[in-house]
């Protein structure tokens, strides 16, 4: 029933199938392009609302990327009635146990941590994934701490952070990302805010 497998037939057959497929995908992409962009924006603004003190600007519109110690972070400055209220910093660490961990860390104007949120991680379910505030209280201990006086390292390493049981590597990675975020905050966002 199938056509003869000569060069012309095979060439035409694959050409038509690929063209048809591309056309269909192009159509679907056009339809889903906007919802996908919206979903991603919604995710960022939801995370921002959770980690920042009160603000009335749109931090996502004023976001900028900076390089700190060779790593890139995104800073979302927040203002209330034009006055610097703090900033959220999205930092990625590669020191996780199962892959990169992306955190959103919100700072008040004076550098105190307001709140943290895990944007993405691939830590072991049941162990490292307790960094998620829905699963354990681990991340809550960073609230209202100023990294100036609060040593961002697990107790095993001489710091002040209570590590997640059986997930020291994940806890260390979390501290690493928070420190990176704080360094970025000190170097960029807070400079404008102090004056």
């Amino acid at each position: 029933m199938a056509r003869v497998s000569n060069f012309k037939n095979m060439f035409l057959c694959l050409l038509i199938i690929c063209f048809g497929g591309s056309a269909l995908l192009g159509g679907v992409y056009l339809i889903t392009y906007q919802p996908i962009a919206d979903a991603q924006t919604a995710k960022v603004s939801q995370a921002l609302a959770g980690v920042l003190p009160e603000f009335d600007n749109v931090p996502a519109d004023e976001a900028y990327r900076v390089q700190v110690d060779g790593r890139y972070v995104t800073v979302y400055p927040a203002t209330k009635s034009g006055i610097f209220a703090g900033a959220a910093v999205e930092a990625v660490t590669t020191k996780g146990f199962g892959g990169p961990i992306t955190l959103m860390v919100g700072f008040k104007a004076d550098g105190t941590i307001y709140n943290t949120a895990v944007i993405s991680h691939s830590e072991t379910p049941g162990l490292g994934d307790k960094m998620d505030p829905r699963k354990s209280d681990f991340s809550l201990q960073f609230k209202d701490k100023n990294p100036e006086t609060f040593k961002l390292a697990v107790k095993k390493d001489g710091g002040q952070v209570d590590a997640i049981t059986a997930a020291t590597i994940s806890s260390r990675a979390f501290c690493d990302a928070v420190s990176l975020a704080y360094t970025a905050f000190r170097q960029t966002a807070q400079k404008g805010g102090d004056q």
């Binding site: 057959c13 694959l14 995908l25 889903t32 996908i36 979903a39």
Partner: protein
């Protein structure tokens, strides 16, 4: 063969997971919870139905030597459609299933049904065959996911039933093998009876 038996064949007699033991990578990888298993199963079912339908329609025009490449392109197109749609409308599920969605392309069940059934049968029968195999796969994934979630995190579809941490190993990879093994035994016992 009547239409109904084409569907039920994929669910019981030739269940992709418990009987054919195909598509083990997503089976073991995504079933950490019942909801993830269900989501992965439905995505695969969608791809199976449409790729079976389209392949049975075009099989007559495809020269034998480029059959497999043509099938793979058709399957990949539908998988990408699923990926885009999921990303747009259920981003949370897309994030948990992540890498496994593009991997549906190389899922043995999809290509297996295309080769073994769709390329030789009528469009409607092929569509139903895809539906049957898909439902069988979804069922297997959901049951496995539910068992692992219940034993591993003491919950059912996200509802916490048992307090505490439960038996963690069932959420991890070894637990997937153990749970799947016992479910296979159980399924085949029931099937024989």
């Amino acid at each position: 063969m009547n239409k109904l038996s084409i569907i039920t064949k994929g669910i019981i007699k030739e269940n992709p997971i418990f009987v054919l033991v195909l598509g083990m990578c997503p089976t073991l990888g995504t079933t950490t919870s019942a909801f993830n298993g269900l989501g992965m199963g439905l995505a695969t079912t969608f791809v199976l139905m449409l790729s079976n339908l389209v392949i049975s329609l075009i099989a007559g025009f495809i020269p034998a030597k480029v059959r497999i490449p043509s099938f793979i392109v058709v399957i990949a197109v539908f998988v990408t459609v699923v990926q885009l749609v999921m990303q747009a409308y259920v981003p949370a599920l897309y994030e948990t299933l992540g890498l496994f969605i593009p991997l549906i392309v190389v899922n043995c069940i999809v290509l297996g049904r295309a080769e073994a059934f769709a390329s030789k049968n009528k469009p409607l029968d092929s569509f139903l065959d895809g539906l049957g195999a898909g439902v069988g796969f979804t069922l297997g994934l959901t049951v496995l996911g539910a068992v692992r979630e219940l034993l591993g995190s003491g919950a059912f579809f996200g509802w916490k039933i048992l307090p505490g941490d439960a038996v963690l190993v069932f959420i991890l990879a070894p637990g997937a093998f153990i749970a799947l093994g016992y479910l296979m035994v159980l399924f085949n016992k029931i099937k024989k009876a």
